[in-house]
């Protein structure tokens, strides 16, 4: 199922990244207007990791992610309107307003959910991979975590388990250099995530997360290995988030210059757009149209979310409360 990188496919990748960026920009703005209870963790700058990875997967493959998950959900094909409605806490949301930004899911697309606990997503993906392996479903499971998860012990328990049980798991670490305001090099002994992973016997590779081709090929290769019964792979995707950790955050932990350089020199959208333009596969007008489509879809999503009703209290109790003799 490795995508052949046809011009049509690449244009679709670009469109998917544009949608994510527009979605995140608008979600953050809506959040600043008080529309999103609790705020959001925008993934602006990390679009290529999500789109490049998802385009290497089959429809039944499984994906989990962490607290910064919108790009995964959108890249996996989740409806932006229902996603925005969930952020707004509305009845029409992906999780009926019960779940929220950190607990998105869409099982019809193998999207097993985002997670509020650093590292936990990888464990669920590992378990889902075990289920796939035992049932012989031919699914591969992808667990996304951030660089922050590299220092959480559970992460390495999960990796080790996937290795010894030879599971069809792809662990993707989106290394955007910071966990909230903590620079990864200040808190990671050894300073190489790939070497750390290799110590657990998992094949591990560093990938330029701002190059969607490289991302896609790395995930496709890992998926082939998994499907061939060769077990898990660990991919460190070097990437960057342009905005603060969460809605409205402006820290002093990194320089404006650093942010600027990532934005101007390595932006994954600009890179793909200009290479498509250079190869003649996308016209100036074509790009404008894609941008306009993204804007329109997100505007629709915002309107849908805004007009959607609040959930009613009767949906609140835990499902298991509805049975049994407990009060």
């Amino acid at each position: 199922m490795h995508d052949q990188e046809t011009p049509e496919a690449l244009v679709e990748w670009l469109a998917a990244m544009l949608l994510i960026r527009e979605f995140e920009e608008q979600a953050e703005r809506a959040s600043l207007r008080g529309k999103v209870p609790g705020g959001v963790h925008p993934a602006i700058g990390q679009e290529a990791v999500a789109v490049g990875a998802m385009r290497a997967l089959g429809p039944d493959d499984i994906v989990t992610g962490g607290h910064r998950p919108h790009h995964h959900a959108l890249a996996r094909g989740v409806d932006p309107a229902r996603l925005m409605a969930e952020l707004f806490g509305r009845e029409t949301g992906l999780g009926h307003g019960i779940a929220g930004s950190m607990h998105l899911s869409d099982f019809s697309r193998g999207y097993y959910g985002s997670n509020g606990i650093v590292g936990a997503s990888l464990g669920l993906a590992m378990g889902a991979a075990l289920g796939a392996s035992m049932r012989g479903t031919g699914q591969v499971a992808v667990g996304f975590v951030g660089d922050g998860a590299a220092n959480t012990g559970r992460t390495w328990e999960f990796v080790n388990m996937a290795v010894i049980w030879n599971l069809p798991l792809i662990a993707i670490c989106e290394n955007n250099l910071y966990a909230v305001e903590t620079f990864i090099d200040n808190v990671m002994g050894g300073k190489s995530m790939v070497r750390r992973a290799e110590g657990f016997g998992i094949p591990a590779f560093e990938v330029d997360g701002q190059d969607i081709h490289e991302v896609n090929r790395a995930v496709a290769t890992a998926r082939e290995r998994a499907l061939a019964g060769d077990g898990p792979t660990f991919l460190e995707m070097r990437t960057y988030r342009y905005h603060g950790h969460e809605t409205g955050d402006k820290g002093v932990y990194r320089t404006a210059d650093e942010v600027d350089r990532w934005r101007t020199e390595r932006d994954p959208i600009a890179r793909l757009a200009s290479s498509l333009q250079a190869s003649g596969d996308l016209s100036e007008q074509g790009l404008t149209e894609l941008q306009e489509q993204a804007v329109a879809r997100v505007a629709d999503a915002l309107a849908f979310a805004d007009e959607s009703p609040w959930p009613s209290a009767s949906t609140a109790p835990h499902p298991t409360d509805r049975e049994g003799s407990a009060r």
Binding site: S105, Y112, G123, G127, A128, L130, R135, M161, P319, A326
Partner: protein, 326 residues
Amino acid sequence: MSDEVTYSAAFREAVRDEMAKDDTVFVIGTDLYHRGGHFAQVLGLGEEFGRDRIRDAPISEAAMVAAGVGAAMNGMRPIVDLNFIDFAFGAMDEIVNQAAKIRFMLGRPVPLVIRASSGIALGGAQHNNSPESWFANVPGLRVAVPATPYDVKGLMKTALRGEDPTIFLMHKKLSALRGPVGGLDDLVPFGSAVIRRPGDDCTLVCSGGTVAKTLEAAESLAASGVSAEVIDLRTLYPLDTEAITTSVRRTGRAVVVDEAPGFSSIAAEIAATIQEQCFEYLDGPVLRATSTHSSIPYSPPLIDAILPTVTGIVERVRQTSEAFSA
């Protein structure tokens, strides 16, 4: 169908039955395949079902539970054997934030059983925690605390055929207890307490490791003319409030017996609920016979000094009967 087997063997029978019936049932844990678990609870199943389904793991409690949760989300019915419940502390996020909440958050059932040996026995402070009241406090979890081989088998089958995560706690000291068990489809429903001894003067609520002690106390009370009803809860969540309150409305008195250090434990919940729902029927306060608020010591005489005793239970019944019978 009703040959006598041990408490541990009853567990094994339940697991064996369900594994034979349902390909998706399997077990994850340490030292299972050869050793059969520390309490021989899956002894022999390794050879029968193979290494895939009697699946040995490293000492990675977080990963074991995560594997169970993720597999349960993807069509399996895992049993994660944590050995001692104390080791659940290494997987607390996976149990409380993942297993318990996924159905609520994502609408996906998590048919997972976490088995562990629990209760207070030898081994010192770190091997004798009683966190069952915590699990009962977590919305989304169920907590089974069988006291007999019959209930081990029947409750385990219910857990394995259910859709939600269950914490299945087997008391260390009951491992060798013998008794009859049910057949292939004899399930013991959750939230259904059983009256182990009927009585009219006082209700004694107990479960798991305290049932035998409580029955002894009832016997001793009978000798002095007090007729105590003994209720074995079988599950702490769901709690069979109806069975308890029905009894207390009749007897007018209640003592809750529990082995955990009593402060902020499940005994508190039961006492609070009884007085809430039966206040006008009560002839005395609902009292608790529990362990004292202490870590568990190593030496047997020190343990004995902390645990609820038969005399202690009898004394509590006296206290709640005498103080206000005048």
